[in-house]
């Protein structure tokens, strides 16, 4: 049984409320940080922990915090990104629903380190019921003196507000989130300037994912070095994985970074194996990361066992690897159609494009139309090359990473499953039924993938 840092108490009675949370050691990090550490020491521990952003990009949190500009007389903000919208990801929802106070505790401690007196949680509109849970938790914390003026007599003032979104994946991008928090359309800003210099209301701002901020709690409690002992290399600590798709035991799991991919998928402690049929493919980190065929999930191109770490999952680059991303993990059994899934992914991105820059606005819609045509047996062989070219021209040429996120699933599907696209072109009658691979699974021609 692996250790749990975030979800240790998730099934304890009353853990949703302040009293139950306190009874299980809650708010110790605030006491420790405010009474005995000071802001610099908290930042030092976060740096030592090797914690990386849990929202998907994996950027070192301590480094991000150290970029925070500190012009005198200008307020600073911490904004928590609870706009969890990456398909396949539902870990933040679970954490906030079960243990809302761990987020609030992490925010107070982190804001103390950053010198922010006000922080905001931006939560996606669809999670309205969790917005209510957070509002209640903030009220409780305020009433108990964890928020407000002069917390614990330390001279540190802090308040937390929660803002609800209204349905836009793009608001998970940090600058789009800030725009939305300012009551505008969720159009990502052009960077630089980065939020650490000019963020919310033009003030220095750090935007972090829910899980990242929650992880600050055990890091401050036990020390950054203890945290860094878990994991391998630059992938330290524990990570929440949202497991879904065709597996026996979907759910949110906290794993030590570094367990093998095989163990995670097949062990009864985690996913419990693939549902009924053979494993065909896997998306290990949310819909934006490259999809990989089963064999490349278990082993890297060099034949080493693949591990659940940032580095191992991306081993082999885009040719043979994928990414840990946000930890939105979903498996495909052999009844699933990769073309259909790619079309579905692309429809998602076309729907969620903000429309601000031309490659993403026009390119995502175009890819969706071409994929729809192929999936419905009306495609041509040239369409596959056309798709490849469109995704290539979107990637890297957009304002924000949504363009890349839309391009990668298409690129990886064609890279690894081109013969399945060709099958759709050659056998239009066979793919008319949406469940075309249920009775006769499509068998890939074995191929060696060029590294």
């Amino acid at each position: 049984m692996a250790r749990k840092l975030l979800l240790e108490h998730d099934n304890k009675p009353g853990i949703q409320g302040l009293e139950g949370y306190r009874a299980n050691g809650g708010y110790r990090s605030v006491e420790k940080a405010l009474k005995t550490m000071g802001p610099e020491a908290v930042l030092e521990e976060v740096k030592k922990s090797g914690l990386r952003g849990r929202g998907g990009a994996g950027f070192p949190t301590g480094l991000k915090w150290s970029f925070m500009a500190k012009p005198p007389g200008v307020p600073r903000y911490l904004v928590v990104n609870a706009d969890e919208s990456e398909p396949g990801t539902f870990k933040d929802r679970y954490l906030m629903e079960r243990i809302p106070h761990i987020l609030i505790e992490g925010m107070i401690t982190s804001s103390f380190a950053l010198g922010a007196n006000v922080s905001y949680i931006y939560i996606r509109g669809e999670y309205f019921y969790i917005y209510r849970i957070l509002e209640r938790a903030i009220e409780e914390a305020r009433a108990a003196g964890w928020l407000g003026k002069n917390i614990l007599g330390s001279g540190f003032d802090h308040d937390i507000h929660v803002q609800v979104g209204a349905g836009a994946y793009i608001c998970g991008e940090e600058t789009a989130l800030l725009e939305s928090l300012e009551g505008k359309r969720g159009n990502p800003r052009i960077k630089p300037p980065f939020p650490a210099v000019k963020g919310l209301y033009g003030c220095p701002t750090v935007v972090n994912n829910v899980e990242t901020i929650a992880a600050v709690v055990p890091i401050v409690n036990d020390g950054g070095e203890e945290y860094a002992k878990i994991g391998i290399g630059k992938s330290t600590g524990t990570k929440l994985i949202s497991a879904g798709g065709n597996i026996n035991k979907p759910g949110v799991y906290e794993i030590d970074l570094g367990i093998t991919c095989e163990e995670f998928l097949n062990s009864d402690e985690w996913c419990g194996g693939v549902q009924g049929r053979a494993l065909k493919a896997l998306v290990p980190g949310g819909s934006s990361v490259p999809i990989i065929p089963a064999e490349l999930y278990f082993k890297t191109a060099a034949g080493e066992a693949r591990l659940m770490t940032y580095e191992s999952l991306s081993d082999g680059g885009f040719a043979t690897g994928s990414m840990l991303g946000s930890g939105g993990f979903y498996a495909y059994n052999d009844a699933q159609c990769i073309v259909r899934s790619t079309w579905n992914h692309t429809r998602f991105y076309a729907h969620e494009s903000c429309g601000q820059c031309s490659p993403c606005r026009e390119g995502t819609g175009w890819m969706e139309k071409v994929l729809h045509r192929i999936e419905n047996g009306e495609g041509r062989l040239e369409d596959i090359d056309l798709l490849w070219d469109i995704q290539r021209k979107i990637e890297g040429n957009t304002i924000c990473p949504l363009g890349d996120a839309a391009a990668w699933p298409v690129a990886s599907a064609i890279r690894h499953f081109r013969d399945e696209f060709e099958f759709h072109v050659y056998h239009p009658q066979k793919v008319k039924d949406p469940k075309h691979f249920e009775k006769t699974p499509f068998v890939r021609k074995p191929k060696t993938v060029a590294a």
Partner: protein, 185 residues
Amino acid sequence: MASTIKAVTTTEGVAPFRFSEAGLAECRRLIARYPAEQSKSALLPILHVAQSENDGWLSVYAMDAVAEVLGIQRIEVFEVASFYSMYNLHPVGTYHLEVCRTTPCMLRGADDLMAHLEKRLGIHVGETTKDGMFTLKGVECLGSCGTAPMLQCGAKYHENLTPERADSLIEQLRAENKRQNYTDQ
């Protein structure tokens, strides 16, 4: 492939809108969360309040009222209301069934659930039943991939849906006949 349903941009035949006292109090509570000169920040949550008080959609009158509460241009409200997918710019049924159809849900049978609901309600996705009771909508990832297939109605998530469970949900809602909003407590 965003929604192609055009906003209702007429006031003809549309009921006028005024915030209730409770609604106005809620607006004031929301505005207080932001620095004094940044009250526009409250636009998204206030639009939710307006939508809930206007039978689940944002009419021209409702958007005008929001602009007035915040003291901003009406176009600023319309720009935002038309950007976010949870704001309905046309009337919806008493129950707005939002079925998640994104890949992780698709892998666990979202297509079947949608087909079943279409047949059961006798409408296509995007339509409202003749009695005005149900609107069926396909939406993108709702963060419920581990409990798929699922749908959202108001603030509530209905997860792990089988055809039978979907049927009994519809029966139950029909019997209750009470609008469900995102802002429901």
